[in-house]
Amino acid sequence: MSKKTPKQVDTSLRQFIKDLGYISGGAALLTTIPWLQSFTPDKVREIKNEKARIGFIGTGSRGQYNLHAVMAIPHAEIVALCDIYPPNLKEASAICPNAKTYTDYRKMLESPDIDGVIISTPLYLHAPMTLDALSAGKHVYCEKAMALNMEQCKAVYDAYQKTNRVLYFCVQRMFDKKYIKGMQMIHDGVIGNIVGERCYWFRNHDWRRPVPSPELERQINWRLYRDYSAGLMTELASHQLEVCCWAMQMVPESVVGKGDIVYWKDSREVYDSVNLVYHYSNGVKINYESLISNKFNGMEDQILGNKGTMNLATGIYYLENEAGGRKSGIEQLIGQIGNKLYASVPAAGPSWRPETKENYIPHNILEGEFHVNDGLSMIGALKDGSDEILSAFCQACITGEKGKNIVEEAYLATILCHLGNQAMEEQKQITFPEEYKIPYMKFS
């Protein structure tokens, strides 16, 4: 956990929108990213003197990450903290000593002094806690993924249709500048037609945390057990599948896959290696791969077009007509002579080796410096959109304005994760079930 001071974190949505306006042309931008419509500089000014009163459910590593981020938000005030694990609650209370502490979240939800709650708990608790909080009249921000299974996802989605409360899930790539700009470029045709999508997340780590006593194993290493977590799919793939659908503006109709425990054979119940193919009705496929016993390939959300390739996670794109990279020494020499120039050419070097891949010229999606997530942290990365989405949620707690597309995107991404797990568990192709389709989804 990095110790961030408010000064280091730019949580100002105003600045964020301003930056986006510069890179994308203001108002036009907001029609393509409707979830940011409520955050124009004017609207941000309206809430300037107000504060959302926020309660935290779950104050472990991710909860504390969120705690630091919310502390830096001028329009938010942390009033309550809740955790069943005393060491985590104690740590959070040290960070935020004025907040009231609870060990039962239901008790906390009874407090009339809380506008919204931020849920950073293991996956199996997302749905019950979200539903309870909405019933208690609280606005809710919940970590991804949406819920432990498809039934719970649908229950949360249905509850959201009926409530007038705000609901956010941490789909932070929707608030990451390089993703927003990259998506605009994709939708403007910079890489041509999308012909494929490749997402992967590689780590070399057992995904475990130290356990002070054996009975806490499942509570602390909840990611490894099927009753608590849906493994790599919900923890990692959910972000990336959301990105794929955002780029395609469609949802895959079917999935096949293989999942195994290849290396970390330590009585865990979730796969440490997954490979899936999601199929859209037009034939485009998402190739998804995650492996946590080799980190060579890192993490990437790659959109392949017939005219270029967008590497959204690293914020770089490549154009097909620039393949081959820089001209060879002899080509440069011929060019020189054509231009009546005399200069040295970069010809000399250790032996040329045959290449299986052409070199491309990298272009940055955003100008200037931007942050790239190395994908290695179990807690979260800095400046990946998490701060902005939290800020947006806190603003919505004041205005009561629902976030457009956010629940829908979280829902479709989580359902796709569960369909992927089902395909791997049942060893067959799974078609998107009718009962889990929502009007938001387009399949063709």
């Binding site: 060879s328 020494g329 002899i330 020499l333 011929i334 020189q336 002579i337 009546k340 120039l341 005399y342 200069a343 040295s344 050419v345 970069p346 010809a347 000399a348 070097g349 250790p350 032996s351 040329w352 080796r353 045959p354």
Partner: protein, 249 residues
Amino acid sequence: MGTKFDILIINQNRLKSQELWCDIVFELRWLDQLFNRFDTTSETSKINKKAALTPVQVNPEMWSVLKNCQMYHIRTLGLFDITLDNFSKVVLNENNHTVSFSKKDISLDFGGYAKGYTLLKIKDIIHQAEVKDCFADFGNSSILGIGHHPYGDAWKVNFENPYNHSIVLDEISLKDMALSVSGNTPSYTGHIVRPDAREPVNGRKAISVMSENPLEAEVLSTVFMIASEAEKKQISENFAIQRIVEYNL
């Protein structure tokens, strides 16, 4: 030979240039048939397959190449070694031009020789065709500049650090000169082996050698990657070298 060959011929009419190109390609094909150890029908493969079992008769050019390699082996204090192991186990029979291996697991690898030898022969073909100005690049590591650039008095090449292409390590002017570069790259390390120790050179290091003779440049650039300081001094006395530079990458 698993590499690429580029040549720029200046001041020739198109037909003559095409003829010259055809002659060069013919020579390249012939030499590939001689040296390519990955081609099972090559002369080198024939030797590698059988020489440990029985003496293998070789064609006249391969014979002279093997004698030439033996000579360079001696002149480089044993560091130039086409077996990458122990050249003394290669037995050359003068009477019937046969080669045999007196040790199992010996094989010939012309990786540190073939490009220089080829460029030496191409230099001769160019000379016979009366071409005055020409630039040939054999896989970047063996370069030949004959005459000069149309707008300069030589051919200028630079050497970029393979670990960081924004750094130019050297700029070299070639006028009737050959250049050979040996070294490691991020994707290709450990291919240069000191034969007596049988240990690959893994450091971030490169050597460039400039000489009128492309073959000697090639032999020395590899040898200097593995030689000690004392050996370098002694070997230098056996060769006419124009320029030799070591680089830390």
